[in-house]
Symmetry: C2
Subunit: 168 residues, 2 copies
Amino acid sequence: MEAAMPSQPFADMNCSLARALSVIGERWSLLIIREAVMGSSRFDEFHQRLGIARNILQTRLEALVSDGIMRREASPQSARVHHYILTDRGWDLFHAIAALMQWGDRWMDKGKGPPVVLVDPGTGAPITSLKAGAGIDPRRIKLRPGPGADKNTARRLSAAQPVEAASA
Amino acid sequence: MEAAMPSQPFADMNCSLARALSVIGERWSLLIIREAVMGSSRFDEFHQRLGIARNILQTRLEALVSDGIMRREASPQSARVHHYILTDRGWDLFHAIAALMQWGDRWMDKGKGPPVVLVDPGTGAPITSLKAGAGIDPRRIKLRPGPGADKNTARRLSAAQPVEAASA
């Protein structure tokens, strides 16, 4: 067995996925956010509905607050009760949660179909198949250096994937 | 400090997000999949490009293979070298990865813009703003019990979110 090599912190990588995972990479975090989307806000609601241990929940909620995903507010009813509310930054994770959920629907539904369906509030129609690039086969989607690319990222993306189609 | 209560395994929850996280909830897993999307397939490529410890990489690759996200193939050049290739199930995670990446672009770009841009292979146009429900405010999207909902899920989703609009 080789000793684990210290790796670069996720937040410092030149990769938006790694940076996102530095904030919500603990698997309970996304479930807590999903629970907030479903209307939970009090500690006991998260605890009971998720079946999560209180000490783990406390740690995760504190991290979500300090990372700006949730904010903590005293209840109007009682100063001793607090609500954990999604911020705009937290709500913006909805799309990633929906994409992971729909992957689970497609590959892990145990033959029973999806447990939860997203519904358009205006039309009542189900929102299905959240896909990048309007259904383009992901094997064909190109990765290109963006304005935030460091030298290493730019070199890799230029070398690895030669342009097949004319660029815009 | 309270002892941690044993919680239900993620794979057994009546929630496609939890089930997805049971497979790709270790934060290195999604980065390994992203690395495969970028063209890496050999152990050493993942090791060097991600800066991940060899023992952790080995464990994660084995889990991804046993969960059907990747398959392991002997290299045509040498039977001692193996390639780790994304399966269809693995490629289908592209949308979730893109959604997390674009969240990182919006909230954690350190003021420099996105490191990586997704590009339509046909037109060369950037693929941006992967959003559920064609831009509907996620606060307004409804969650409804699907065919795979158990009693508890169905009860919660019926009670928590009364229908505001006429259902289809």
